[in-house]
């Protein structure tokens, strides 16, 4: 951390430097380039397919059920094939990707806000507040996260909103811990002490001095978490506890496809490959930022469940 004692965070210049060196890392390494390509490909699919004229994730047509990829029936080519109900898999994979990304990004935003708030407050005030926040974090870590998600999803009932809030509420711990650790050292810095002696309120200090200094790191953690959240959502949907039909989701499509694994494996494989591409892309790229030394998560990219 190279924050000056002037009280003015160097966050912006630093994150530009971070971005440049991350780009440098990406272009230097074949696996990073590959990850970037995977991510780009799956994003393009998600963005472009719903704009094409053939896009139709819902309508069922038994006459074309279980079409193999690239099979042409009645003058229409099904690039990804169709499922048992004759629904176009390309459209469904793309829509499911949009839903996944929407839930993932929203849940990351929710957990980031909660975690940063609790972490900064805990680290700035210390004492009882800190014990309470860290105790809550420890408690939450004492239940495997999948299990917690299953239990709560079972009880509040699955819907996109519930799922997003639930994923957001259960993912704050990592931000909370990092933010607290950073706040602990920041609060001893001269620019904070000087503000305190001049009568600045705690809220002002947290907002003006602590927040801008932790935010770049938090966004990196967030990019890392995005992949994990997407996997959690897919796992829940695979178990039937996440996104509900008729809306498609990658996890649910894999679970449906598992029944046809012997005869029509692409039904499960295509959404699975899409998850893999998105998660690998996101996590390897966030690794490029972390390995640049700003923040070390001390663990390789992973898909949690």
């Amino acid at each position: 951390m190279s924050t000056t004692d002037m009280g003015k965070p160097l966050a912006t210049t630093r994150s530009f430097a971070g971005l440049r060196s991350a780009l440098h890392i990406i272009t230097q390494s074949y696996s990073m380039m590959l990850a970037a390509l995977l991510l780009l490909a799956v994003l393009l699919l998600i963005i472009i397919v719903p704009l094409t004229p053939g896009y139709d994730p819902y309508s069922q047509n038994l006459a074309v059920s279980l079409a193999t990829p690239f099979e042409t029936i009645d003058g229409r080519t099904y690039i990804f094939g169709t499922d048992t109900l004759g629904r176009d898999l390309l459209s469904r994979v793309a829509l499911a990707g949009r839903v996944s990304l929407l839930i993932g990004v929203s849940a990351v935003a929710i957990s980031l806000v909660i975690g940063v708030f609790l972490g900064l407050v805990a680290g700035f005030f210390r004492g009882v507040v800190e014990s309470a926040v860290m105790g809550l974090a420890d408690l939450q870590l004492s239940i495997p996260r999948v299990l917690l998600l299953i239990a709560v999803a079972a009880i509040v009932g699955p819907s996109i909103a519930n799922l997003t809030i639930l994923l957001g509420l259960t993912s704050w711990v990592v931000y909370g811990r990092v933010a607290r650790a950073m706040a602990l050292s920041l609060r001893e810095r001269e620019f904070v002490l000087s503000a305190v002696t001049q009568g600045a309120s705690a809220a002002w200090n947290i907002r003006k001095h602590l927040l801008p200094n932790v935010l770049p790191q938090m966004l990196i953690v967030g990019s890392f978490e995005l992949g994990q959240i997407i996997v959690f959502e897919a796992s829940l949907s695979y178990l039937g506890l996440g996104i509900q039909p008729p809306l498609p989701s990658w996890g649910m499509m894999i679970s449906e496809g598992q029944e046809y694994l012997e005869t029509d494996p692409w039904i499960a494989l295509l959404p699975g490959i899409a998850i893999f591409m998105l998660v690998t892309g996101v996590q390897f790229l966030s690794q490029a930022f972390t390995s640049e030394g700003q923040f070390d998560l001390a663990s390789p990219p992973k898909a949690s469940t």
Binding site: S31, D138, L139, S142, I143, P144, R145, V146, L147, L148, I150, A151, V152, A153, A154, I155, V156, G227, V231, A234, S235, Y238, L239, G240, L241, G251, I254, Q258, L261, E262, P265, A268, L269, G272, I275, F276, V279, T280, Q283, F284, S299, P300, P301, K302, A303, S304, T305
Partner: protein, 305 residues
């Protein structure tokens, strides 16, 4: 040592208590159980009768006290579907879950150990990078999709192993392998850096000076010292492994607690869900406690801090 033991024990009891409290409020969130238990045509008197039978007409504090008292006596309520104690259903399934988790745990260590050694002993940096790359890719694939890929390869295509159920050793291989390979990248990295740390030690230099071969030094001298961190992290991850087992069990129709929980969720059998989650959390807390104590015995620095 006694002080450390007591502190750690107290911490575990507090955690279990916290989990119980969370479980209680989750159940209350689920809504009035009497509505779930009674048929739709039940009269208001029927509902009132059942509510007083279940103690639902009492204050929340009293209900909470009774809940805790019941749990301490091993009473987690009746399964709404099968009318047998929920705990019995869970206990019946517990051996299967433990069998899977422990096998995967040992298998994961053995794999990390063997592959780690190969990586250390091989003269080819390319092979080393390739193995690491494979392990990273494995980690970016969600457990349920990796399990499906294993089924596709070993059951559907090659026909070597059964894809579902429990019974013989062959049934155990695919789910255990799915779980065991998940943390492989982390283990390999740890093992590698632990071995690397030993590399610079005086005793290693002495051994080289005495003219021993590299292989012998690695196997005889460095290996025993590098094992401790690997075993510790694996122990900590054993808890996480339990969480992933919940999903894996569903993929392979493995009759464990995880599958029971997922099935009970879809049948709205909340007492069984809660009993299952409590049981897994309890095992999780116990494992963490044992790992911590073991580590304190092995490394005196831990208990002094």
């Amino acid at each position: 040592m006694l002080k450390f033991l007591l502190r750690r024990l107290l911490q575990s009891i507090l955690t279990v208590f916290g989990v119980l409290t969370a479980a209680f409020f989750l159940v209350r969130l689920a809504g009035d159980p009497s509505v779930l238990l009674l048929p739709v045509e039940a009269t208001d008197e029927d509902i009132a009768l059942l509510r007083s039978e279940l103690g639902l007409d009492q204050s929340l504090i009293v209900q909470y006290g009774k809940f805790i008292a019941n749990v301490l006596q091993g009473d987690l309520g009746l399964s709404l579907r099968q009318r047998v104690p929920a705990l019995d259903l869970v206990l019946e399934r517990l051996p299967a879950t433990l069998e899977l988790a422990l096998t995967a745990f040992v298998l994961g260590l053995v794999l990390a150990f063997a592959i780690g050694l190969i990586m250390r002993l091989t003269p080819s940096p390319r092979l080393r990078a390739f193995i690491m790359w494979l392990a990273f890719i494995r980690q970016a694939i969600p457990v349920f999709f990796f399990g499906l890929l294993m089924i596709l390869l070993f059951s559907v295509t090659l026909g070597w192993l059964p894809s579902l159920g429990r019974g013989t050793i062959q049934h155990l291989i695919l789910p255990a392998l799915t779980l065991a390979t998940y943390e492989l990248a982390l283990y390999l990295r740890l093992f590698n850096s632990a071995l690397g740390e030993q590399q610079g030690q005086d005793y290693v230099r002495t051994a080289y000076a005495k003219g021993q071969t590299r292989t012998k030094i690695i196997l005889r001298h460095m290996l025993p010292n590098a094992l401790l961190p690997l075993v510790t992290i694996a122990g900590i991850n054993l808890g996480m492994l339990l969480g992933s087992a919940v999903v894996t069990e569903t993929v392979f129709s493995w009759p464990g607690v995880g599958r029971l929980i997922v099935q009970s969720v879809s049948q709205r059998d909340y007492p069984v869900v809660i009993a299952g989650v409590l049981m897994i959390s309890l095992v999780f807390v116990l494992i963490n406690l044992i790992v911590d104590l073991l580590y304190a015995v092995l490394d005196p620095r831990v208990r002094l801090s």
